[in-house]
Structure formats: structure tokens, C-alpha cells
Symmetry: D3
Subunit: 322 residues, 6 copies
């Protein structure tokens, strides 16, 4: 039987829980002792079950990482048939290579830690680099959220919408495949890209725009918006080059530091859409930043496990023409 | 060559660093990005070296645990000959068994995570339960700090000190061996013990004192003082039974929540001595809580590695008669 | 399908076999060559089955340990779906920590050997220390036999039984939780404990009784009775303090050396009850030592596997009010 | 002692062997049976030695991969202290992620196979993607050959060379860091990049040039030249945009199919320089393709091991100002 | 569900595929890039399925080995329930021990590589030495093809066939068990053996015949015919000793080098029968070498998996009396 | 530093200990508790040392196996640099393959257990089958005792000894290589072999002698003499065929059951020589069975480790011409 454990009390978490029966949900108690140590205790058996654990590894990222590891240990010792981790946002994924010698490759370390703690399969959304799949020796699925959003955008728009004014923009070289997937699903004909070179993480780089954005409505497609600095700079650049409107679709709204303020105040950004892989509900005020709920995608995913279906079929369903 | 990396900027850490040459110390940069992710970068090579990494896994315990794991990944990828972790305080050690079904055994999980990240040997101080050694498949050394303090206490006291008024007290059944080790080294002839039964961690239990404490100067010996609740209750009980003075020696001063305040205000406690396995310097005011520096023990330990000696010999040296 | 292999030809083994159909039982041939080497050959296929192997690791303990390991190798190579070891008595559990440096931690070694040989899960009874669960990285269940016996004792006694004269006694500090579990199930209101300190295994220690036993009927609760020396000394001490009767419940009757004779002759012990986790039928004469058959508990356990139930539910069933 | 085994009879291999004494070289016999099975037999002991095995995993790539694995097994069983694989060209590195579901990640597989066969460390040159370092859990060094060539180019050119006409070009987005490293070392001030999008490996993509190449002498910097198709197309594009000369520096000359012919005939390419990480000596005629010997770099590397030095220092030496 | 992947386009492969439904077969694309690197891509999902991969590891043996490993990686990453490799001919099995120091044990290496790549079970035919089973820590089945052929031979012959003229011959000491199995099934009463001593693989040794072959029809039973040299020499020897006819049954027709020509021209061999564990259809002309199709055995095997039966029962079925 | 632990108090053990200094020997205490559990405690540190543990795994074979495993655990936890097991006789080596389905491969199991317990290298003498080397993934050395004895025999015999009357006999097909090695070293020109087929271990088989033994002095060369049954039958057969004298050299004198009596009474055996890989000193009376001390070979071996030499060189030294 498929059993569900949702670690985080978030909008996404509550929506997912609401889609399953009481029998399918494993309640648990999460403790934090006064010295900061965490403990997770399951309140129902999982022996022989296919356990699905849902938790983003987002800020407070180290706290959440350790919590997931401890929860996995508790589950593993309770004799489940298998453990699947659905982690909509997989922290530390940007540390996927060494920029200099004597650095860690933390994304690989996380992969090893999760496998040590007992996961048999992992599912995440819009992974920062596809090579990270190779850091795992267990099956990993990478749900193409932005591609699905492209499909939904197309279905939602009026039939007589003028597509010729639209340009999809990838904010860097690594994101071209991701942007193109959105563009194809959304049936938007034009694409541009920003090409940049960054010395250190979190630092903004010099940028050059390829493709024509003058007089166009631009849709920037990216996986992560963190401090917001790069995004503000990119959109400024696009506006300088004549873009009329700049909309942004980002899967993961890390929005660290004063990112929300920075983006809210940025004139160059007309609107930023993020999904709820990371929960920011309590922090977002006003309508400059829009929230897209992806619960139905994750619920579909868990139902696929439950019914023995294939994820590839599920994704195909999300990407149908009509 | 033996190379030293000290992760924490504490009194203990600075003292240790001061005992070694610049060539023996590997400088490093510790970064925390605005989204909370950590990174550690070594600033000197360790290829072919026996690396000693010093870091307590204390509050903020999850932050520190992840920091140690990431540092280990960076070291491991830099081709050292071996990695020894000296962790004066090893967090999560009290989660060494399941009180109920469906709980984790976090102390074992920590053991697996550290080994996955690359340690070849681990050294810690006054481990909460000696069975935890069995959670590791690599060599582990457990430095008997309290036993060494017992030895030092004896050497420091006046020759004509009246020992007959002293009683060493173990605050629970599990600590008898530890208290006896102190007692033997200190040459204190009398011992008593408090016997208690505790339902949950951090909760105080019913207690009964075995042995005579009336009119005596009591020295409580324990490994960890956390919230301070049990300690205050134990010392109250001892004073009610006629103890004249209650001194406490604890290796690890976790002192979470308002423990410092609670202990400072407790009339039943005459003085608490803790060591600096956990750094509390900035928080301790007044002289109710005394600080014992164990840097020399750890420096001795690292020198033992450097010179190819044996830890057992070193400990014997610390426990000599004269 | 659940398939059963019972290695030992004991009362317990025969009772278990009697509860299952021929199709569910895998016959086997156990050979001992003239040079002492063992071999086990299965006489029916187990491909795709959930195999349950039942065998205590008791005296001759090394012979039995190797036999279990070899049987596991034979099973593992026959393509089962999973292997569960039910070992009512898990030898070497008392070697769970190092008393001195340079000793083994044999209980961890046994855990590693069994996992190397192929077990996926292990079930045992009244484990010597709960930390041993952490020596395993696979699921482990520890059946609380004494707790179940407490429940049965209550149901079996006359309704008007005078409980006020009864005291449950834990013979050492480590056994308090175990004794309390019995006490709670038996609805016996009073408890006492013996507090002792032992230098080496098998050696008797100095002891002190906490709690009132004068004029009482004492029930000592312990996990293992080995040479019997400690037990005789404890009961003598209790009688000296005025206990009227001393009954003993021990899960595992190791009864090594001349233990049976020693206990039979001990005036301080009125009766010792052991279970058949270790088979001593041929050696026990007279009625000083009583035998409690726990076959029904293990049969219930195996039926739980067979029917996809939960062990936690099963244990709850054994501990019902009525 | 450091012992050297060079599997391939190539220019590079012979040069390396020539730099070491007979005692440091382990002779071996490489057999190929008539059914195609390979065998490698060492002709001298390596017990207790730090063995360095040198072999590119290049065409015939599967043959060479299996040969390296078998050689590793022979070495591992001969009790060496450690095994370091120096593989100037590490085949299968371009299969570092899944373009579609249900594909392998062969670069990770290769990492696992080499580690299974017994390597403790791996050194390679100009790795295709730096994330591949994360596929290994052992130390890996990635020698920046092109950066060293940039340094050498600068030292070799006349002092009054006119640098203003030069432009370094990265042929794709992933190569920018690599090209920049060359540019910085060569002290060439200008850079351009070709931006392209490729559906499948070996297939040429649409391309757009960023930066000014009109009237310039272009130096394309790339890690691998395989079929030559992309290179010919890129250089054509550059010439169309007004580039006067197009020179190419590529670390690895895979040159599969009719690549040599294609490049030799391409008017858009003025000269291609490759290194001898892959041996093509027998196939290259004429002077359209130039050969750069990197033996001295690898010899320096092995001497670093021999003398207990640091690779980072060695590389710094290769990149000195003077 | 059981899903089938047949890597090789051979008679055996096509026959197996013909026995299963489209839904049970996983189509795949096998690519070979121009630089010799292989890639395998599945064209249907296998999530949750018991995948059976069929492929001989025969010439080109290194190419096929790597192809199988890459296919396993692709399958493993697609979340199957289990992977069973059916490899009718398992190359490198003759390298099962070190004849001299400093050689590899390639058959063990292959076992480790296959397990690293992800197989959970392996099935092969007439393994060269039964000890090779011990190189695997996963279940391995060794289908006794020659024994089954002996059974079929008996059922196919006329009832009044004169068996007294027949002698089964083992061509070396290692093959006696194999020959006896054939003899018993075929109900042939007489056996002889050739005893020889071979210095190196592929080299012919001195030989001595035990048992009477004069005037007899000899049936040589062997597992592998490689270069054919030994076989020609053995049959010559038998004819010299008066054997009237020499027939040969060999499971695996490696037939390397000019083996086919050599055997076709050998007057001492009347006919050689090989099975199609290795596909030689395109190379065999004339009727000196006969081909025995074993598809039905492998199809039976896969159906056994499908239906949850036991291989032991299947083999018993193939060896029935009638 | 090389440190020596000799587990067994045997002639061989005492001889080896006598060759090393007190500083090189690690004393230990071996305990057997009254319930049969073993414990081993080292009495000196081994931190950083290359530990050599010497112990045969012979009868009582299971007791000795567990003792070795526990000793390894104690050593491993004491932080040695490496652990080498010298086990002159490696029990369970004859269980190296499955004769029928559903049996174990105990020799592989032993390999896994020893590696789990912590050995890094293993050295044994005249291994039963050379394929067993492939059961280990660590380096293994197989000392050719009989070959060395052949060399010694030659050097010891008078110069004018008549070799033409001598025949070396292998008692079965598997021993031919072993016998030939003895023969070559002893410079004995003639060889014969007994060819037999055995259904089960310990059961005698039908036998046929190849080669001429009439009027000859026969030297049987074998690795193990266990129950002695086969040996008596073989020698009878040889005497029946006219052998004048039958001498036997066996490395390992298992001599189980009444083997000593059986051999002593056997008229067909003139004398049996065994080595002291297994200690039988207390059981052997009279001079029918001769004892060859191999201490000097093992001492040479350990000195080789100590001095960083090569075992291959050592063996070559033992096999010199003069």
C-alpha cells in the first residue's frame, strides 16, 4: 500500500494531504528539543508499505536537510517496502561542481547522505543541472514544471491572442533547454537568450542579449530566483533594449535576503510568477509576485505510484494538446 | 604530515591553533550564502596528509552537523591520506535507542553520515553511552575527560585536605562508571548515587538517593547539563537530605533554553564546572558557572598523532600519580 | 508466499512447525562433516518467497552462529524475495560495549556478519540493551516477552488476589524499564530495585536494595540468567531484608556451567520461570525451574507476516485489557 | 615507492616511460586471445607501491575500457598501496546526463566501474563537464591542458606580437570558462562566443556569434574535436562574418569517421592543433593538423607523486609569468 | 509485470521475442557513435517491472560486455523492480583463477562489474567451472544445457537403438561431471575420459585416454569449442585408438580464428553439434557443424519468471522420463 | 611497524613467536565465558601498525572461525594501519561450489565474513582450489608449501639417489598441477595420476590409475588428508598395481574421526608426512605419520612484510637451485 508522509506544514503540503484518505496518510510528531536536536516519530505503521515522503530541502536548509535524514531513519527502521522522497526543491543543487580546487561538491554529498539514510528513489522538480541525476545511483525523476506551465499557459490564453509580440528569454546559457521546452509547449514562436559569465555564486555577471526583444513582451524562464539581483539586472537590460513588458516564470522562489523587496520595487519586472515548491505565502504581500500552486502535479504523481502507473505517461497527460 | 583544520572560532579552537605551526594549519574559508547554504573551501593542500578536523557538533546543532559534513567532502576530494574527526561534543548522542517503535536512532544515523562523508577515525569526549562506539565501524576513541579532571583535582588540592567530608554523586544509574572513574582518580573514598526513571528526554523524573550525604560536601559528576532542570532538582534533593555543599562537574555544558539563569539562581547548587567542549564564553556572566579549558588535552592528542604515539599512553600520562 | 525454516529441533521449533502447513515449511538437511564443518541444504525452493528462518544463537553459541550464517548463504543463493531471521535468543548481546580499550564489540560484529550473510530483517526477544538496535542498519524488532508475560500473569490470577503484598524487583539499574513494563501489565503497584556495580562479565558485584521488600512477595524480572551467581546473591540479599518469597521471571535461561544445580539448591529462590527461547528441556529436572512456552507468540508473529499485518498490532493484541 | 605502468604503445606513452628508471617501470604483457578476450600480466611486483596506471580510454573505446579494468584487477590483486589512473582522455564523458528518459548516464557508469575495479584516485585532462567530478567519490584531478597551452603560447610568441587582432572564441556556451582560461593565460584581450543549441550528440546545431570577429585572427578553443562537423560549420560561420584566419586548439583529437579528411579540406580552418591525449600519429598526414606533445606535463605529474609534492603547485609552476 | 529486453539480433533472440506479446517486450534503440561509444535507449517504461535482459557476452566480447553494462545502467535508472540478466554465454569465464602471480581474475571482475551496473540475478548456461557461482553474491542459475540435450537425444532415438557401441567421452578432467550428466540422461552405459595438462590457455596439451573406445561410436561432451585445436587433437587420438565415429556436443561454439575451417577439414571429427548460445549462423556453411536451437529452454525460463514458477521445476520438466 | 598476534598456542605458533622481539609481539588474553561466548583482548596498542594475525581455521573449526572474527573486530577498532591474516589452513575451502541447488557456497561466505570483520590481505597455504582466490576482492597469497617441500627434498637427498624408481602421484584430477610443481622441484622425472569421481564430500569414489607404478616407489602429493579413507584406498590400489613403497606428502593434516588410527594401521601406506598448518602433536604417536615444521616459511613471510620485501622474491628464494 502507498503511504504518505508530508513533513512540511505548507500550502503545498496541506493540499497534497487533502487529496488522500486518512488511511493513506501516516501522521507523525516532529519534535525540536531545547538544544536544537530534532526527532521525528511516526504515529502509524508503514511495514511493507511503499512510503512517499514529501519535503522540500529549502530554508532553513540545514535544519530541513537533517529533519529529512532523521525522518528517513525512522521510516527505514519501520520496515517499509520502499521509500520515495519527493523533494519539490532540492537544496544545495547549485553546488554541483568545484569552481576551484579544495571545494566540496555538496550536491553529490547530499545525494550520498540521502541514500545512506535510506531512500530508494527520488523525485524533484526542474533540477538545476541535469548532470545531478548522475550523482544518484538510484532512480531519479525530474518533473519539468516549467514545461507543464507552458502547456497550461497555452490552454488558458484566449484563442485570438497575438503571439507575434511574445519572446521567451533564457537568462543564461544553461537555461536554454528549459526555456525552449516552455516555448514549445506554449506555442510561442520567438526566443532570445542572455549570455553571461559569473565568477562566484550570488554575484551578478556581465550580460549580452542575443535575439530581438525591441517592442516585445518578454517572458523570462528560469529555475531559481534567489537574491533577485541577477533577475533585476537582466530585466533592466531587456527593457533598455526596448522590451515593453517583462514577465518572469521561475519554478523555485528561494527569495533570500531582501529579494522580495528588491523585486517588488524593480520597475523593469512587470510580474514574477513562482510556484510553491518553496512556501513563501507568509512573506509575499501585494501582487507583484504571483503564486502558482503545483499541488495537482504532485498529487497526480503520488496517485501514479498508488495505481502502478508510469510517470512518463503522467507527464504526457499534463502536456496534451487539448 | 599531520594537518589541522579547526572549524570553530572558539576559545578551544584558538588555543589549539596556537599550539601548532603555520605549516601544520590548513586555513579555510567558510561561506554562508544568503539562502542559508554553507560552503567550506580549504586554502592549502592536504594531499597525502593525515588531516585532523576539529569541530564540536553542538548548537546550532544541525547547522554544525551539515558544516562538518561539507568540510569532510571538501577534504576527502583533496586526496588526504586519512581524516580524523575530533568532535569534543558529539550531538545527537542521547538519541541512541528507540523509546517507542517508529522512532529514529539518530546517533546511529550521525555515525553513518559521518562515515559516508569520509571520516576514517573519530575522537570524542565522555560519550553519553559507551554502546555508541558500536554504531561506528571505524576506530573511535572516547577521551575520559572527567577522569582526567579527577586526577587534576587531586594534584591541585592541599596535601592536608580533609577527604572524609567528600562524597562523589552520580546523578543517575548510567553515570556510575563515570563517577567512579572520577572518584578513583581524585582519591575520594565515598560515593552516592541518585536513582531515577525518566519517561521522555528533557523531562525530570522521580529520584531516590542511595548512600549517605548528610553533612557532606557533594560533588556531582555528569556528562551533559542541558536544560539544567534535572540538575537543580537533584541538588535540591541532596540539600534536603542534609548535604552542606553541592558542586557539579559536567563535561558538556549544552545549557539550552534558560539553563544558565536557572542554575545561577539555584540555591541548591554551589558551583557548576563545565569544560569548553561547547563554547559558552559569551553567555556566561558571574562566577556561579566555572569554565575548565581542556585545550591541553586535545593538543596532546593531536601531538600524539603527529609523533606516531599511542592515545592510550597519552591518557595514562594524564592520569599519573604525581 | 511466506516460507518457514526452523533450524533447531527443540520444543519451540516443533511447536512452531506444527502451526504451519507442509507447503509453508521448507525442509532441509543439516550436515556436520567429520572435521566439524557444517552444511545446510534446503529441500524445497524458496525463489520469490519471504523466508522466515527461526534459530536461537545460543550454546553451543559459535556452532549455532556459523550454522545460521551458512543457512543464510544457502537461502540467499536460492533467490528469495526477503529473509527474516527470528532469533529468540541473540547470543553475544552482552558484549555491546568496550569495558577497556582493545576489546571487540562483538554484538556489533554479529550484526555485521548476519547482514553480510543476507538477512533483511531481524526479530529477537527482550534484547539485553536497546542500543543494540542501533548496531543494525536493517529493521529490527524486539518482542517484549516479559511485558506479555506480565499481561498473562494478570489474566491468570484470581480476581481477589491481594496485590499489596507483591513487589516487582529489577536486579540492576539497566533492567528498570523492563521490570516496570512487567509491573504495569501485571497491575502490581510496588517496585524495588537492586543497584550494583560489576567490574567484569560473569562476576558478582556489590549490591544495594532500593525500596521496601520486608514481608513482601518479591518477583524479580530479568532478561538473562546465565551462571546464576548474581541471581542467588540478589535473592539472598532480598531474603535477608525480609522478603518472604522470591520468584524470578527471566526470558532467557542460558543456565551455563552448574547454574541449574546452583539455583535448584538455593533456598533464597522459591521458583525461577524461564521461557523456551533457549531449549533446556533435557537438562531440567524437578520443579524449581518452570518452563514457559512462547511458541504462540512466535507463531502469531509469523502469521502476521503471512497475512501482511503489523507486529505493533500483534503486540497490542497480546497486551489487551481483557 | 611510485611504480609506473603505461598500457598504450603511443608517442605519449613512450615519452613518459623514457623519463623514468627501469626500477620504476612495471613491465607487463598484454594478451588478446583468439576469441577477443584480453588479459594483462604484470612482470614485476607492486606490493606496497603507489601504482600509477597510464591509459587513455579512447577508440577502440570499449576495448580500451575493458583493458584498463582488467589491468586494474591484476594490479589490485598484487597488493599495491594505492592505484592512480592517469587517463589523458576519459571516454564516455559526453554521456553525462540523460537527454530523454530511459537513457543511461554512461559517464557515471564508467566512474562506478573504475572504482569497482580498484582505483583510488583518477587524473584526467580537460574534462568535458566539471560536474563529472561529482560522479566520483574518490579524489579526481582535472589538468587544465588548454590553460597551460595558453601560458606556453604567450611565452613562445614574439614580444612585439600585435595582440589587438586576436580574438579567442568559445564554440559553445559550455566552453566559455575553458576559453577564458586560455585567453587569460595567453594575455589575449578579446573574446567571442558561438551560441548554439544541439538536439542530439554528433548533430550540428544552429549557431549565432556573439562578439566582433571581423578582420580578426580567431583562435577557437575546445575540449574535443570528434567528427569535425561542428568545427567546420563554426569556422565557416566565423569566416562569413569576416574573420581573416581561424586557428583551433583542441585538447582531445577524437577525429572519428572521416574527420581528418573533412578538416584537411576545410578552407575555413587555417590550422587545427590537437594534443596527444589520443594518439593519431599514424593517421595524420600533411600539416593542416598540428600535434602538441603534453608528455612533459604528465611526467611532471608523476614526479609530483614520486616526490610527495602537490599537483596544485605543479600546475601553478606551469602557469608562471616568466 | 515481467518485461523482456533482447539485446542481440540473432536467431535465438528473434525466437525468444516471437514467444512474447508486444506488451511484454521493451523495444530499444542501440546507438554506436562514430567514435565507437555505445548508447542504449529504452522505448517503453519498465518502472516497477521485473526486467529480463537477454544478451550473450560473446565476440566481439568487450563491445558486448560494455553494451550490456550500459543497457543495465539505462534499465536501473528507469526504476524497475528487479533486473535479471540471461546471458547464454558468459565471456571471460575461463579466466577464473590466476595461473601465475600478478594476473587478473577476470571472471570475478566481470561478476563485480555486472553487479555494480545493477543486476539482481544472473542466469547462464553450462558455466565453465561451478566455482564461478561463488564469484557472485547474488543468485545465479546455471542451466545444464548438455544434460537437457542428453534427455532429448534419448527421446529422439529409435527404441531399438544399440547403446552398447556408444561411449561418452569427457575431453578433460574438469568435464567429467558434465559428461556424466549427459550420459545418465541419454542412458548411455559407457564412459571414457581424456586426461590432459595444459600450460597456457589456447595451447594444446599432452593427452591420455582412460577407458575403452576401440570399435566404438564416441560422443565427446564439452562446454566450449574455441580455436578447435584441442578438439581436433582429441578426436584424432580417439580415432587412433580405434574409435569408429567421433561425434561432439558442445554448448558454446566460440569458434574463434579459423576454427570452422579446421573442424570442417578434420577427418577425425564426424560431426560437431553446437547450440545457439553464440550466433554463428552467418559463418557456418555445409553440414559438418550442426546447430541446436535452445530457444525453447530460454522461453520456458522466462515464462517461469512470468508465472512465478521455480526454475528447478522447469529443469525437472525438461528432464522427464517420457 | 609490523606487529604480530598469534592466536593459537601450537608448535607453529610458538616457533613463530620465538623469531620476533617482545616489542613486535602483541600479547592478548583470550576468554571463553561459561556460556561459550569468546572474547579477545589485546594487551598492547596497534594504532598505526601493520598487524599480522596468525591463526589456522581448523577444528574446532566454527569455534576458531568465530575467534578469528572477534579478534579481527578488536584489532580493527584499535586503529591499525592494516590487518593481514595468515591462516595456514583455511577451513571450509572444500565447500567452494554447489553440488546441488539450494546449497551454500561456504568458502565464499567465509571470504565475505573475514572481509566484513576487517582483513585487508590474506595469506594461506596450498589452497584447495585456485578459484577460491576469486572469492576475495582483497589481495590473497597462496604459499605453495608442497612445491617448497619438493625443493627441500631434492636438496636433502644423497647426490647419487636413484630417481628412476620414483613416481609422483596425484590422487585426483584437481591435484595434478600441485603434484607437478612438487615433481619439478624435486627433479623426479615420472608422474602418475589417479582419476576418480566422487558424488559427495567425504565419500570414496571409483578410481583408475594412469601411468606406470609397477615396482616403483610412489610419492602421493595432496593438499588435505581428512578422514583418511580415500588415501588408504588410493594407496591400496597403487600397491595392487605393484607399487613397492607408498609415501604421502600432505600439506594439511585434518585427520578427522579415526583417521590417525586408520592410517597407522594401513599396510599400503609406508609413511605419511604432514605439515603443522594444523597442530596434531598431541594426537600423533609412533612414527607412521611424520611432522614437517613450516615455521621458517611463515617467519620468512612475516619478515618480508617487516622489511618491505616481496613475497614472490621470498618464494623464489625458497625454490633456489642450490
Amino acid at each position: 500500500m502507498t503511504k504518505l508522509i508530508v513533513l512540511d506544514d505548507t500550502v503545498l503540503g496541506r493540499n497534497i494531504l487533502g487529496a488522500f484518505t486518512e488511511e493513506e496518510i501516516v501522521p507523525f510528531e516532529s519534535l525540536k528539543f531545547s538544544d536544537g536536536e530534532l526527532c521525528v516519530e511516526l504515529k502509524a505503521p508503514v511495514r511493507g508499505d511503499d512510503v512517499v515522503l514529501v519535503s522540500s530541502i529549502c530554508e532553513p536548509v540545514n535544519e530541513n536537510l537533517v529533519k529529512v535524514l532523521i525522518a528517513l531513519d525512522a521510516i527505514k527502521r519501520a520496515s517499509p517496502k520502499s521509500i520515495t522522497l519527493i523533494t519539490p526543491y532540492l537544496g544545495y543543487s547549485r553546488q554541483d561542481r568545484r569552481v576551484k580546487a579544495w571545494q566540496p561538491i555538496s550536491a553529490r554529498l547530499i545525494a550520498d547522505l540521502l541514500q545512506t539514510a535510506g531512500i530508494n528513489r527520488i523525485i524533484t522538480c526542474d533540477l538545476h543541472a541535469s548532470q545531478i541525476e548522475g550523482f544518484y545511483s538510484i532512480p531519479i525523476d525530474n518533473i519539468p514544471i516549467l514545461q507543464i506551465l507552458g502547456n497550461r499557459w497555452r490552454k488558458a490564453r484566449p484563442n485570438d491572442f497575438d503571439l507575434s509580440k511574445l519572446v521567451v528569454v533564457s537568462p543564461d546559457a544553461g537555461g536554454v533547454t528549459r526555456a525552449r521546452a516552455f516555448m514549445n509547449e506554449a506555442k510561442i514562436p520567438n526566443m532570445a537568450a542572455i549570455f553571461k559569465y559569473r565568477e562566484k555564486p550570488n554575484e551578478v555577471a556581465t550580460m549580452q542579449v542575443i535575439g530581438d526583444v525591441k517592442g516585445k513582451t518578454v517572458i523570462i524562464i528560469d529555475d531559481i530566483v534567489d537574491t533577485g539581483g541577477t533577475l533585476v539586472k537582466s530585466s533592466s537590460e531587456l527593457k533598455k533594449l526596448g522590451a515593453e513588458k517583462v514577465y518572469v516564470y521561475c519554478t523555485h522562489g528561494v527569495l533570500s535576503g531582501n529579494a522580495i523587496e528588491k523585486i517588488t520595487n524593480a520597475e523593469s519586472i512587470d510580474k514574477l510568477f513562482i510556484t510553491n515548491t518553496i512556501d513563501k505565502t507568509s512573506q509575499i504581500i501585494g501582487d507583484k509576485i504571483g503564486y502558482i500552486d503545483i499541488s495537482d502535479i504532485l498529487i497526480g504523481l503520488i496517485n501514479t505510484f498508488k495505481n502502478g502507473g508510469y510517470i512518463s505517461e503522467l507527464i504526457k497527460d499534463f502536456l496534451t494538446e487539448e
